[in-house]
C-alpha cells in the first residue's frame, strides 16, 4: 500500500488516509482478510500522528471496511458471506415466484406444487450425478 498524505491541504488528514485505504481495497492492493500495517508503523513511516491514524482506523471500522482485533491489529473485512447468501436467496425467490404463481393458476394445490418442486430438485441432483459418472 502506497500511502501519500498531503499535510498542507485543508482536507483532514484522517480522511485522506481513509480514502487511500479504501482505494487500496477497491483496487485489490489489499484484499479481504489481509492485515493492514499497524498504527505505529504508519505513524513512523509517514512521520505522522498516531492518534490521527487511529482515528482513520476507527472510522473505517465503523464503516465496516476493516476489522480491528484487539492485540493483533487491523484486517480488511471479508466480503461478508452471510450478506452474499441473503442476496442469493432473494434472487432465487424472485425467479421462482412467477413459476409458483403459474402453477397455482393452473390449479395445483400447495402440496402438489411442493411435490413438483422437490421432484425437480431430486431430478437435478440425479442428472448432475449421472453427468459426473459419464465423464
Amino acid at each position: 500500500m502506497n500511502l501519500r498524505i498531503n499535510f498542507a491541504s485543508g482536507v483532514p488528514i484522517y480522511q485522506q488516509l481513509m480514502e487511500q485505504i479504501k482505494h487500496a481495497v477497491d483496487t485489490g492492493a489489499i484484499r479481504g482478510g489481509e492485515q493492514l500495517p499497524t498504527i505505529r508503523k504508519i505513524a513512523e513511516e509517514l512521520a505522522m500522528n498516531p492518534n490521527t491514524v487511529a482515528r482513520a482506523y476507527r472510522e473505517l471500522e465503523r464503516e465496516g471496511i476493516i476489522e480491528v482485533r484487539h492485540g493483533s491489529g487491523a484486517y480488511v473485512g471479508m466480503p461478508s458471506t452471510s450478506s452474499a447468501k441473503v442476496a442469493g436467496i432473494r434472487k432465487a425467490a424472485e425467479v421462482l415466484r412467477p413459476a409458483m404463481e403459474r402453477g397455482l393458476a393452473i390449479g395445483l394445490s400447495e402440496p402438489e406444487l411442493r411435490r413438483v418442486f422437490e421432484d425437480e430438485l431430486s431430478r437435478l441432483r440425479d442428472d448432475a450425478a449421472a453427468e459426473r459418472r459419464g465423464n
Binding site: G10, V11, A43, E44, A47, M48, N49, P50, N51
Partner: protein, 297 residues
C-alpha cells in the same frame, strides 16, 4: 475528557507592567502531540517557562498530570515526569557527549538505555566528541536525546527543530511519532514551522498577544472552518461582517473573503441573499487559520 496532562486556566504574566500572557487557557490531553504556534513575542516561551516553574505566574491556575501546581514541591514533582528542550540548547561546555549523557542519566532513575543507544545511533553522535565542537544540529539532537531517554511522560520543547536541515527535521518528527505511538508520550512544542506542525500534531494551539485564539484537534479545525469567497457587482455589502459565524472578513475591491466556522451552509445561504455574483467555498489550511488569527486586521 478529563485526562489532561497540561491544563492551564486564566494564566497571566506581566513583565514590568507589560502583559505577556492575558488569561491564557490551554489544555493538552494525554498522548497528544500539540503544536504551540504564535508570532514572536506572542507569549510562547513565557508559557513554557510558567509550565516549567522557571517563572512565577501573576494569576491563574496550572494543573500538570492532573495535579495542581501551586507550590515549589508540586512543581518539582511535575518536572521529574517531563523532559524539556530549550530554545538555546544550553549544554555544559567542558563535557563530551558521553559525559553529558552520564551526568544527566544520574538524575533519572527511569533512564532508558535502549533509547539512548537508539538515538545515538540514529543521529550518529560520536560519544567522545566535546560539546563545544558540536554543530547546532548535533546540539539539538543531543538535547532531544537527553530529554527523551529519561523516560518522560511529557516532552516540552521550545522550537525543537530550529537550525536543523530538512532531513534532520524529518528524523526528529519520526522520533516524536514513534514516542507517541509506542510509549504514549505527550508532546507539547512551540514552533514557527507550520509544515512540521501539520505533519506531526493532532492538536494545535495558536496564541496571539498572550491569549489563545485557536485551540483544538487539527483535523476538526480543518472540518469546521471554511473560506467563503464572494464576488459582488459593486462594493461588498456591510451586512457581511454581521453574519453569524464569520471569524474574519477581508475585502479587496468587489471581492469579500470570509473565514467562517460552524454552520457554514447556513451562512452561505444568508450570504446568497445579499446577491453576490459568485460564491465559492474552500477548505482552509493551517497556514490560513494562523495568518487570519494573528494578523490583527
Amino acid at each position: 475528557m478529563n485526562d489532561m496532562i497540561i491544563a492551564a486556566d486564566g494564566l497571566s504574566k506581566s513583565y514590568d507592567g507589560k502583559p505577556a500572557l492575558r488569561s491564557l487557557h490551554l489544555e493538552v490531553p494525554r498522548g497528544s502531540i500539540c503544536g504551540f504556534l504564535g508570532r514572536n513575542g506572542a507569549g510562547k516561551t513565557t508559557t513554557l517557562k510558567l509550565l516549567l516553574g522557571m517563572l512565577r505566574r501573576d494569576a491563574g491556575a496550572i494543573r500538570m498530570f492532573g495535579e495542581p501546581i501551586d507550590s515549589e514541591a508540586s512543581s518539582i514533582a511535575a518536572r521529574r515526569r517531563l523532559g524539556f528542550v530549550s530554545e538555546d540548547k544550553e549544554l555544559y561546555p567542558f563535557m563530551t557527549i558521553d559525559q553529558t549523557i552520564r551526568f544527566t542519566r544520574a538524575f533519572f532513575p527511569g533512564w532508558r538505555r535502549d533509547l539512548e543507544e537508539k538515538y545515538l545511533d540514529l543521529f550518529q553522535l560520536p560519544r567522545k566528541k566535546a560539546v563545544p565542537k558540536l554543530s547546532k544540529g548535533m546540539r539539538t539532537q543531543l538535547m532531544l536525546l537527553l530529554a527523551m531517554a529519561r523516560g518522560a511522560e511529557l516532552l516540552l520543547m521550545d522550537e525543537p527543530t530550529s537550525g536543523l536541515d530538512p532531513a534532520m527535521t524529518e528524523d526528529v518528527l519520526q522520533i516524536l511519532a514513534d514516542l507517541a505511538a509506542s510509549d504514549g508520550t505527550t508532546i507539547f512544542f512551540s514552533s514557527h514551522q507550520l509544515a512540521e506542525v501539520e505533519q506531526i500534531c493532532d492538536r494545535v494551539c495558536i496564541i496571539d498577544q498572550g491569549q489563545s485564539v485557536i485551540d483544538g484537534v487539527l483535523d476538526d479545525l480543518k472540518s469546521d472552518y471554511r473560506r467563503i469567497l464572494l464576488v459582488f457587482d459593486g462594493e461588498p455589502p456591510r451586512e457581511l461582517a454581521e453574519l453569524d459565524g464569520v471569524d474574519h472578513l477581508r475585502q479587496r475591491g468587489r471581492t469579500a473573503s470570509l473565514l467562517a466556522h460552524g454552520d457554514v451552509d447556513a451562512l452561505v445561504d444568508r450570504a446568497r441573499e445579499l446577491k453576490p455574483s459568485s460564491v465559492e467555498v474552500r477548505p482552509v489550511t493551517l497556514k490560513e487559520l494562523f495568518l487570519d488569527h494573528v494578523r490583527g486586521e
